[in-house]
Amino acid sequence: MTTLLRCTGITKTFPGVRALSSVDFEVRDGEIHALVGENGAGKSTLMHILAGVYPPDSGVIEFQGRAVEIPDERRAQQMGIGIVYQERSLFDLLTVAENIFAGNQPAGRLGTIDRTQMHIAARDLLRRVELHVDPATPLGRLSAAQQQVVEIAKALSFDSRLFILDEPTAALTIAETNTLFRVVRQLKERGVGIVYISHRLEEVFQLADRVTILKDGRLQGTFAVAETTPEQLVSLMVGRDLVREPGHPPPLVRDVPALEVIGLSGPKTKPVTFSAWSGEILALAGLAGAGRTEFARTIFGAEAQQAGEVRIQGKPARIRSPRDAIAAGIGYLPEDRKELGLFLEMSIAQNIAAARLDHFGSWHLDDRRIEEVALEYMKRLSIAAPSVHTRVGSLSGGNQQKVLLARWLVRDPLILIVDEPTRGVDVHAKAEIYALLRSLAREGKAIIVISSDLPEVLALAHRIIVMRQGAIAGELSAGEASEEAVMRYAAIGVEEVAAK
């Protein structure tokens, strides 16, 4: 195999940060090369340099045997470097075909768009990525996963020699992930080089030929996947061995549950009944799209409660809005931090105080007290930031998540629902968040964790409820739970969907 891309001594400095220092990186024709590292390790910076978003400070990039410069995104596309970004860059109101050929539509003689040609080409590309939708469908009607696949079809349309996939499976179900893997392997067989950026090490071992590890902008090494182990990769990523605390049984007094949900249904969920006790961590497992988030939002009053009842410590609670839920003692940490949780332009202190302004004065607001409390929680949760006045939008994903957790700690709810608490969070912050959730449970809170990350579910939960298609598919204790057991409950739904 010949070398497709060779980067030598790539260095990039941003004000105050050395994002990459003298990194060497190489991709061969027909190779799937995984790029792993914690958030902030420099993966995105390297990807952006290859995509032409910004140039390196120093270093040489050779593509197909020649030294090249990549001044902008368009040039990268023309050279044959295709990027599939983690954040979608698509247009909901346009059709699938229009999205694939955005800025690149096949034109007729007068410069008008040749729709027939565009749809034929789009249909061909969609077949190659096994996405069976009409190219004339508005993109907004597709699921998040299908949209991700459209993103890949778009990169395919440039006939790229090198593909860079940034966390492509973050929002995908298992079935969709498998489809994606097939597409990636097909590309490989055609001799295309692939850079695969992922947090999920199991995917690296399923898919990649070689893996390169970055840490704090430095190269930690490149290995053939067959000659390394997940443990070795993790220790290179974090520079220490990751300890996985086993799920200890909670000291349960099973008298009155902290939260009792009886036949509760909402606009998007079927009736569900379950209980959660003080001191336990209950996981709601299942595939993406199983209705867990919608269900949590219904308990929290963010979606209308249509039927059924919620009881808190045995007393019926009328919940018609998040305000009612909070007053009743429920906290909810949403999945989408930036859209639903954070006030990005506001300070850490203001974000932490948001759910409990009444705590800081009945009508006059005591800003000094807010700052004191915020500082206390910054220390307790080891939030890395210069001060309590730091803008939350400038923090890393892990620190943002800790700010949100601090908000609920200040509120001190009986029941805390956390939705995908470690998505987009680096390994180190992840361990801290686990420790925090465990200590909250020990303090006597009922913690409900929604997670699609099975190792996470198994590491944290005392009890696991598996959901599929908006209903409970099964329940497992920590003792009987395994990845296979959870998947068995969760996956029957997938086959049903496939049979339709």
Binding site: R323, E345, L365
Partner: protein
């Protein structure tokens, strides 16, 4: 682009204002830099200064109200109509006019926050309605209002006229409310991220509705004060107010996406526009130019805002 701390929006605007004052003083010595002229400027900006407090509150929470000028005219006309045609006591007439203005605000609030119609469309519509009501009720205007009504608008205390004192009081009050109280702090959260605010237990529709009611009340109060000052309910007195006030608030640091802005900034914005208009009047430039220049300042301020954000 990041500006050094002392070069914030307020100090930059004050600097620009001082420059304007210096240039005007050099161009029109004997006319511009006089006590008489400066009290005239203050008097003319008082009405906008009262209204801008409400507009800043709405902009902070991520919305705005185009119907303020209509409410301003309507409240002045209702007060005048009640005392002249209805022969009601002055205090009762004022109270009724204020209630009408706050109801106008409530209607805006319900349409925007509950029915969830876009604020641009909703208040553009009610702007037409409130303006129409003002002209329908007041005709060309209601003149020779009672002296007891005109007194507060024309009284002079310590060299400054009644409306200036009213503005000073209202501005101080709202500056305190917006920066120091729990209730009003919530508007900043809403403007920053309304969904996150709702999930944090903040009553978003309730607060937004209250914001529109406050806006209506202030526009009405200002309109009544204006009628009091001129002794007449002028049916179109508020036309164009929305342009001046929104421009002032944006100049003063509000953002159309919400989440930021202070009352002090808004007042400096009002002062800036009043100074420009005063200079145009002294230079005997046609009054239509005032609208053209105010509009240009609005577009420039928003463009500046976009430019600064690219850091």
């Amino acid at each position: 682009m990041k500006l050094p701390g002392f070069l914030n929006r307020e100090t930059m605007l004050v600097g620009l204002m001082l420059l304007l004052i210096a240039v005007n003083s050099a161009l029109f010595p004997g006319i511009f830099p006089t006590v008489g002229n400066f009290t005239a400027i203050l008097r003319s900006l008082a009405f906008d200064g009262i209204m801008v407090c409400g507009m800043m509150l709405l902009l902070v929470s991520g919305t705005f109200d185009l119907s303020v000028g209509g409410t301003f005219s309507m409240a002045g006309v209702v007060a005048g109509w009640m005392m002249k045609n209805g022969e009601l006591p002055v205090a009762v007439s004022i109270a009724i006019a204020l209630v009408v203005a706050m109801t106008a605000g409530l209607i805006n609030g319900l349409i925007v926050a509950r029915v969830r119609v876009n604020a641009l469309i909703a208040t553009l519509g009610t702007m037409g309605i409130y303006r129409g009501v003002a002209v329908l009720l007041g005709g060309p205007g209601i003149t020779f209002l009672p002296d007891s009504f005109s007194r507060p608008g024309q009284i002079v205390i310590l060299g400054l006229q009644g409306p200036v004192w009213m503005m000073a009081f209202i501005a101080l009050l709202f500056s305190f409310l917006l920066s120091r109280t729990r209730y009003f702090r919530q508007y900043y959260y809403i403007g920053n991220n309304a969904t996150a605010a709702r999930l944090s237990g903040i009553d978003v529709p309730g607060l937004q509705t209250a914001g529109f009611v406050i806006m209506g009340g202030l526009a009405g109060f200002s309109g009544i004060a204006f009628a009091s000052r001129v002794g007449t309910s002028v049916s179109i007195s508020g036309d164009g107010a929305e342009l001046r006030i929104i421009t002032a608030a944006i100049l003063g640091g509000a953002s159309l996406t919400g989440g930021k802005g202070t009352i002090l900034g808004a007042l400096i914005g009002v002062g800036f526009i009043a100074l420009i208009n005063n200079a145009l009047i002294i230079a005997s430039v046609s009054a239509y130019w005032q609208s053209i220049i105010t509009g240009a300042v609005l577009v420039a301020a928003v463009a500046m805002d976009r430019f600064m954000k690219k850091d």
